[in-house]
C-alpha cells in the first residue's frame, strides 16, 4: 500500500522554483534512496514533507496514508508518523535530553488521543532503546545535543526514531560528519527499525551509506525532478559514472 505519494510537486523558496514537478511513491515496508548532486532539491523535498516554514508549494500534492499532508501543521504530521532525521541536529541548551524525549513522545501520544507514558514505563522504554544503540545513560542527562560529537548527535536522532515509532522516516544526509565506525553504529540502528509497516527515505550524496542501509529503490534527482529510478544497482552505477550524465535528462 502506498504510504507516501508525492504528485507533481512544485515548490518555491523566495520566488525561485526549486522543485519543478516531482513525483514519488513510497510503499509500506520499502526503503528508498534519493541521490543527486548538491542543489538538486533533495533537502527541499525532505523539508516540505516535514512542513518546515519558508517553502511555498505552488502546485501538486503530498498524500500520507491517503490524507493531504500539506493541510497539516508540522506537529500534526509528526503525530501521524512523519519523522525527519536532521542533517544537522540542533542543540537545545538547558533542556535535558531525557526531558525532551518525554515531552515530545507524550505530545505525540496526546495528539493521537493515546494516554501519556508514566515515568517508570517511559524510563524502561528509553533504557531498552538506548542500550541497543550504545547510548550511555549520562548522555541522556545532558542538554539536547549540547557538546555531542557528530556520531552522538546522529545516534540521538536514531534513538528518537526508535522511541517515537514513526511510519515514515526521512534520513537527510545521515552520513555527513560521520566516520566509518559512527556510520556503522547509526546504520545498524536504522536497520533494526526496518519493518513491513515502516518506510524509509534515505537522502544521500554518496553510495557509501547504501552499503550499510541497503535500499529497495534508488531515485536520482537532478534540477528539482526525479530523473531516473531503479534498483540498488543504480547507486553503484552512479558511483562509477557520476551525476553528469543526468544533467541533460533534467
Amino acid at each position: 500500500m502506498a504510504l507516501l505519494e508525492v504528485k507533481d510537486l512544485k515548490v518555491r523558496v523566495e520566488e525561485r522554483e526549486i522543485l519543478h514537478g516531482l513525483t514519488l511513491t513510497v510503499n509500506e515496508g520499502e526503503v528508498h534512496a534519493i541521490m543527486g548532486p548538491n542543489g538538486s532539491g533533495k533537502s527541499t523535498l525532505s523539508h516540505v514533507i516535514a512542513g518546515k516554514p519558508g517553502y511555498e508549494v505552488t502546485d501538486g500534492q503530498i498524500l500520507f496514508k491517503g490524507e493531504d499532508l500539506l493541510e497539516m501543521s508540522p506537529d500534526e504530521r509528526a503525530a501521524k508518523g512523519v519523522f525527519l532525521a536532521f542533517q544537522y541536529p540542533v542543540e537545545i541548551p538547558g533542556v535535558a535530553t531525557m526531558t525532551f524525549l518525554r515531552t515530545a513522545l507524550n505530545a505525540q501520544r496526546k495528539a493521537r488521543g493515546e494516554s501519556e507514558y508514566s515515568t517508570p514505563d517511559f524510563l524502561k522504554k528509553v533504557r531498552e532503546v538506548s542500550k541497543s544503540l550504545n547510548i550511555p545513560q549520562d548522555m541522556l542527562k545532558r542538554g539536547v545535543n549540547v557538546g555531542f560529537s557528530g556520531g552522538e548527535k546522529k545516534r540521538n536522532e536514531v534513538l528518537q526514531m526508535a522511541l517515537f515509532e514513526p511510519s515514515l522516516c526521512i534520513l537527510d544526509e545521515m552520513d555527513s560528519g560521520l566516520d566509518i565506525d559512527a556510520l556503522r553504529i547509526a546504520a545498524d540502528g536504522v536497520n533494526a527499525l526496518r519493518s513491513p509497516k515502516r518506510a524509509m527515505v534515505v537522502i544521500t550524496h554518496y553510495q557509501r551509506l547504501l552499503n550499510y542501509i541497503v535500499p529497495d529503490v534508488v531515485h536520482v534527482m537532478s534540477k528539482g525532478r526525479v530523473v531516473k529510478s531503479g534498483g540498488k544497482e543504480l547507486a553503484l552505477e552512479l558511483e562509477a559514472s557520476g551525476y553528469a550524465q543526468f544533467e541533460d535528462a533534467a
Binding site: 512542513g51 508540522p74 509528526a78 541536529p89 540542533v90 541548551p93 538547558g94 533542556v95 525532551f100 505530545a107
Partner: protein, 498 residues
C-alpha cells in the same frame, strides 16, 4: 504543596488574554478616604492601633516625600500618576475580631483557594499521591501569611514556628508585640529618605510580613507571603522585614496576583533583609501581577524597593525572582555586603510580553573584605515589550578582595520587542575582581522547527526552549515554586510567536 499540581493543570487552560487570577472578590471593605494627606497617614496609623513612635516615623516620611520627585531614569514610559486619586488603605471589613481561620470571611478564604494557596493548615497535610522520584509534597510544610489589599488576613503554622522561636506575623502585629525589634531594624536597610516610592511606602504602608529568626535557629519550614490586590483604585504598600540573627537560616517565598482591571494599579512595596554573622536568607519571588491586556490597557505598576544587608561576617543573602507580570516593573533587589567574607546572590528571570515594560536588575555593594557576589540574569522579551537589565556592582576603597561574577543573557522572541543591558561597574580598589558576561540572542527558527518536527506545538516548543534558557535560575527556586514558575513561563509567552 498539593495545590501546585492542580494549579498547574488549571493554568494550562488559559490563554494570553485570560489572566487566571483576574477575578474580583465581593466583600465589604473599610477604606480610608481617597487621596493622601497627613490625615490619611494618621488614619492608617490609628486603624492599626500603632504606638506614637510609629506614627511619628510615618509622618516624617510623609513630609520628606512631599519634597521628592518621581525618578525618571528607568527605561519605562507611563502617564503621570495622580497620587491624590488613590485609596491608600483598604481592609476587608471584619465581622468581629479574628482569632482563628474559621472566623475569616469565607469569601476571602475562597479567593485564596482559587489562587491555589491553602490557608488551612490541614490542607497541607492531606497531600496528593506523590509521583515517583519526586519528594512527597505532604512532608514539606510552608507557613503562609496572606495579605489582602492592605491587611494580613491569615498566618498559618504560627504555633509550630513559635516552638522553634521563629517570629512570623503581620508587621502590624509585630509593631505592637515586638516594638523593640521593629524599632531597631525598620528603615535600617531602606531608610525613609531612600527614594520616592520607598518614602511613600514608609508613610502609608499598611501591612506585610515580619520575620525574626533567633541565633542558631534553622527555620523549620519555608515561610511565604501571598499578596493580593482586590479593591479598585487601591495602592498596595506592603512592608516586609526579615531578620536572621547570628548563625540562623530562613527561606522566604513571595507570590503576588491581582484582579484584571482596565485602570492601572500601583504597588510600591519595601522589603528589608538583615543577616547577622553567619546567617543566611534566601528570598524567592514569583511575581505575577496582572500585566494588562493584549492592547496594553490596565495592569499593575510595580515600583518596589528590595534590599538586603549582609551586616554580619560570613553572612549570605540570596535573591531569586521570576517576574512575569505587571505592566511596568521597576525593581532592583540588592545586597549591601558589609560584613567581611559575606556574599550576595541575584538570580533573575524577567519575562515581558504584550506591552509590558521591565526595568529590573540588582545592586551589589561591596563594603567588607573578601566579599563576593554573583548575578545571573535572564531576560526574555516577546510581543511589543521592552526588557532592560540595569545593574550596579561597586567595590568600596576598603573592600579588598571583592569578587563579582555577572552573566546577563537576553532572548528575543519576534522582532517588535527590545532587550537592553545597562551595567554599571565601579571598583575603587585594585584588588577587586569583577567579571561581566552578556549575550543577546534571538530564538532560533531552526531550534523551534526541530522541536515541532518531534511533535511539540509551536507554543510548547517556545516554552521548552525558554525553560532551557532560564534553567540555571529555576534551579535556585524551592521545588514547589520551580514547578509553578516553569508553567508560568510557558503561559506568559503564549501568543508570543506566529
Amino acid at each position: 504543596m498539593p495545590a501546585v499540581q492542580e494549579t498547574v493543570e488549571r493554568v494550562k487552560r488559559i490563554d494570553v488574554d485570560q489572566y487566571r487570577y483576574g477575578f474580583e472578590t465581593q466583600i465589604e471593605s473599610d477604606k480610608a478616604p481617597k487621596g493622601l494627606s497627613e490625615d490619611t497617614v494618621r488614619f492608617i496609623s490609628e486603624k492599626k492601633n500603632e504606638p506614637a513612635w510609629m506614627l511619628q516615623w510615618r509622618l516624617e516620611a510623609y513630609r520628606r516625600w512631599l519634597t521628592m520627585t518621581e525618578p525618571t531614569w528607568a527605561r519605562v514610559d507611563y502617564p503621570k500618576i495622580d497620587f491624590q486619586d488613590l485609596y491608600y488603605y483598604s481592609a476587608p471589613k471584619p465581622k468581629k475580631s479574628i482569632t482563628s481561620l474559621d472566623e475569616i470571611d469565607p469569601e476571602i478564604l475562597k479567593t485564596y483557594e482559587k489562587l491555589g494557596i491553602p490557608l488551612r493548615e490541614v490542607a497541607m497535610l492531606e497531600g496528593v499521591e506523590p509521583k515517583v522520584g519526586e519528594e512527597d509534597p505532604a512532608k514539606r510544610k510552608i507557613a503562609v501569611d496572606a495579605v489582602f489589599d492592605s491587611v494580613s488576613v491569615a498566618t498559618t503554622f504560627k504555633a509550630e514556628l513559635k516552638k522553634a522561636g521563629v517570629i512570623f506575623m503581620p508587621i502590624s502585629e509585630a509593631i505592637r508585640e515586638h516594638p523593640e525589634l521593629v524599632q531597631k531594624y525598620l528603615g535600617s536597610v531602606v531608610p525613609t529618605s531612600d527614594n520616592f516610592y520607598a518614602t511613600l511606602n514608609s508613610a502609608v504602608f499598611s501591612d506585610g510580613s515580619f520575620v525574626y529568626v533567633p541565633p542558631g535557629v534553622r527555620c523549620p519550614m519555608e515561610l511565604s507571603t501571598y499578596f493580593r490586590i482586590n479593591e479598585r483604585n487601591t495602592g498596595q504598600f506592603e512592608r516586609t522585614l526579615i531578620i536572621a540573627d547570628k548563625g540562623s537560616y530562613v527561606s522566604y517565598l513571595e507570590g503576588c496576583t491581582a484582579p484584571q482591571r482596565d485602570e492601572n494599579q500601583l504597588h510600591a512595596a519595601v522589603v528589608e533583609l538583615v543577616a547577622h554573622d553567619d546567617a543566611e536568607i534566601k528570598y524567592s519571588t514569583v511575581q505575577n501581577w496582572y500585566p494588562g491586556n493584549s492592547e496594553g490597557k490596565g495592569g499593575i505598576y510595580n515600583f518596589v524597593t528590595k534590599r538586603g544587608d549582609c551586616r554580619g561576617n560570613r553572612s549570605k543573602i540570596s535573591w531569586t525572582q521570576v517576574e512575569t507580570g505587571s505592566a511596568i516593573t521597576w525593581k532592583y533587589p540588592s545586597c549591601i555586603l558589609r560584613g567581611d567574607n559575606s556574599s550576595g546572590e541575584f538570580y533573575s528571570i524577567a519575562i515581558s510580553n504584550g506591552f509590558q515594560q521591565v526595568d529590573s536588575g540588582t545592586k551589589m555593594i561591596h563594603l567588607g573584605k573578601n566579599t563576593s557576589s554573583r548575578i545571573i540574569s535572564k531576560g526574555i522579551a516577546a510581543g511589543k515589550s521592552q526588557n532592560t537589565y540595569r545593574g550596579l556592582v561597586t567595590a568600596h576603597r576598603k573592600a579588598t578582595g571583592a569578587r563579582n561574577f555577572t552573566a546577563c543573557d537576553s532572548l528575543l522572541i519576534g522582532d517588535k520587542c527590545g532587550a537592553h543591558t545597562v551595567p554599571y561597574i565601579e571598583a575603587k580598589n585594585s584588588s577587586a575582581t569583577f567579571e561581566h558576561e552578556a549575550t543577546t540572542s534571538k530564538i532560533s527558527e531552526d531550534v523551534l522547527f526541530y522541536c515541532i518536527q518531534r511533535g511539540l506545538s509551536q507554543e510548547e516548543a517556545v516554552g521548552l526552549v525558554v525553560n532551557g534558557f532560564v534553567k540555571d535560575v529555576l534551579q535556585q527556586l524551592p521545588m514547589e515554586f520551580a514547578v509553578e514558575a516553569q508553567k508560568l513561563i510557558s503561559i506568559s509567552l503564549e501568543g508570543s510567536v506566529g
